[in-house]
């Protein structure tokens, strides 16, 4: 059945093969900006399937009795969609949890190495023309350290696989209690207190909002390195600001950071902020588009809510 497919907002990456594949599934309308809520509603008015990367879908965007059947997110998370409203409107939602697993796991390991070797400050010094200056940049080696994985889903397990090759002890926690191969599971507080490196790869939702709070971070070792490739709002912002200003952890790498937090982040000498690029490799962006097509085809084949 041919669909009206609307690519509703600014594509980070598009290739002609993908557009061609979409056009085999129906008529295609591509937008290159980020719509206001009213514009989004208008764009969805005659769409069967919406593809989205940036927009927030609320009850207003998905009127009951509308034509919209499915929202195909290019994201691994689902926090941009009011899932209850979608269900009420009879709109299914899919995300892309697989496309960037390797890229993000590589990013975590890269950050761990960079923080352990104090690369942010050493790079600034080198680029400023300093040479053979050692003392402030004393590094440590990762082998034999403990990495604590908060979240042991696909990405957590991919990080664990890499960590085992480096010779790290791997501990972690999850909410389900399901065993994770190669990861010693324990309560989150214990993970934080025993880790030299804390890697956070949690989905952001009501349950995980602010989960990294003062009480939890206070258990961290003073030299622990923290890496968060998820939403910043997993942190309690005020607590993190205090921790960073008081240098109560050894370093931090964030892949998302609100502007107002850059001051505290800068105040900590061993800190890195990347602009949401943990996933961004040539392979990931191509796999992202393929995963969207698979999700659309699953819906076309009669599948229901395929978010995972």
């Amino acid at each position: 059945m041919p669909y009206n497919i609307v690519y509703a907002d600014e594509p980070t990456y598009l290739d002609t093969a993908f557009i061609s594949e979409l056009s085999r599934r129906g008529s295609v309308k591509l937008y290159f900006d980020r719509p206001s809520p009213a514009e989004l509603r208008e764009r969805l008015s005659d769409a069967d399937i919406a593809i989205s990367e940036w927009s927030h879908f609320t009850a207003d965007s998905m009127p009951r009795g509308g034509r919209l059947k499915h929202i195909a997110l290019l994201l691994s998370g689902l926090d941009t969609v009011d899932l209850a409203a979608a269900a009420a409107a009879g709109v299914s939602v899919s995300n892309c949890p697989r496309y960037c697993v390797d890229a993000v796991a590589d990013h975590v390991v890269a950050c761990a190495y960079a923080l352990a070797r104090r690369m942010p400050a050493a790079t600034r010094a080198g680029m400023a023309g300093l040479s053979h200056v050692y003392t402030p940049f004393l590094g440590r080696e990762l082998r034999g350290s403990t990495i604590g994985l908060i979240g042991v889903g696909r990405i957590g397990q991919a990080v664990a696989e890499r960590a085992s090759r480096i010779g790290l002890r791997i501990i972690g926690c999850n909410r389900s209690g399901r065993p994770a191969p190669g990861i010693e599971l324990m309560p989150i507080e214990q993970v934080v207190s025993e880790s030299d490196i804390v890697s956070v790869q949690l989905p952001y939702n009501d349950e995980t909002h602010g989960i990294l709070n003062a009480r939890l971070i206070s258990r961290a070792r003073s030299d622990s390195l923290w890496i968060n490739i998820g939403r910043f709002k997993l942190f309690c912002e005020a607590s993190l600001a205090e921790v960073l200003r008081e240098q109560r952890i050894g370093g931090i790498a964030l892949d998302e950071c609100p502007y107002r937090m850059l001051g505290p982040v800068h105040a900590h000498g061993n800190a890195m902020v990347t602009p949401g690029t943990a996933w961004y490799t040539a392979r990931s962006r191509e796999q992202n588009l393929r995963e969207v097509l698979e999700n659309i085809d699953r819906i076309a084949a009669g599948g229901e809510h395929v978010a995972s």
Binding site: E10, L14, D15, T16, E21, S27, V28
Partner: protein
């Protein structure tokens, strides 16, 4: 191919500029206004024999009924972006890429003049016009069989002679450039297969 109307919107234009900006410093680009069109002139790191000017319209509203795709950045421009991305990492014979957002008599004349001047500076300079979907509109250079036939004439690419898919005013403008021109439709096969970018570069650049 000719169409006086342009539905280029600022956001689409910006998107395209951002996409090419992201390829810096591997290639450089500049934005110009020519007649009533905004024109992007992109200069990849050409090899010593760079002599090819690739040109496309960055908006092609006339293609919508043919392809079933409504897009403010043309499919041709997206394809050319893939070409630019590919040649950004390697030397090629591409001297310049020109994208114009409005195909009118004035803009076309200006852009072809730029292409002609650049191509004439090169020994054996030539121009490739990318027009995705032209085949379905009746163009003759679109299907792969015809491309092979054209390839057989290398390096003497025949001057543009007859393209049923092109409007007469466009034909006239192309014929006036006095440089060899090849019109290529990379979206060729009935099953929607695209001419892979590496193959496009190997064949034409």
């Amino acid at each position: 191919m000719s169409h006086p109307r342009s539905f280029a919107c600022d956001s689409a234009s910006r998107w395209l500029v951002d996409a090419f900006s992201a390829l810096q410093p591997k290639l450089t680009w500049q934005e110009r206004e020519i007649a009533d069109a905004r024109v992007l002139l992109i200069e990849p790191r050409g090899d010593n024999g760079a002599r090819t000017v690739v040109m496309a319209c960055s908006t092609e509203p006339w293609m919508e009924p043919i392809t079933g795709i409504t897009t403010a950045v043309s499919i041709s421009a997206l394809y050319v972006l893939e070409v630019a991305t590919s040649v950004a990492d390697r030397a090629s014979s591409i001297d310049a890429i020109i994208l114009m957002d409005r195909d009118s008599e004035g803009s076309r004349a200006g852009v072809l003049d730029i292409a002609r001047r650049r191509a004439k500076l090169c020994n054996g300079g030539r121009m490739i016009v990318v027009a995705a979907g032209l085949t379905r509109h009746g163009g003759i250079f679109g299907n792969l069989e015809n491309l092979k036939a054209v390839e057989g004439f290398f390096p003497e690419i025949p001057r543009f002679t007859d393209h049923p898919g092109l409007d007469p005013d466009v034909k006239a403008a192309l014929q006036c450039t006095a440089i060899p021109i090849l019109v290529v439709d990379p979206w060729t096969a009935e099953d929607g297969r695209w001419l892979p970018v590496p193959e496009f570069i190997d064949r034409f650049c």
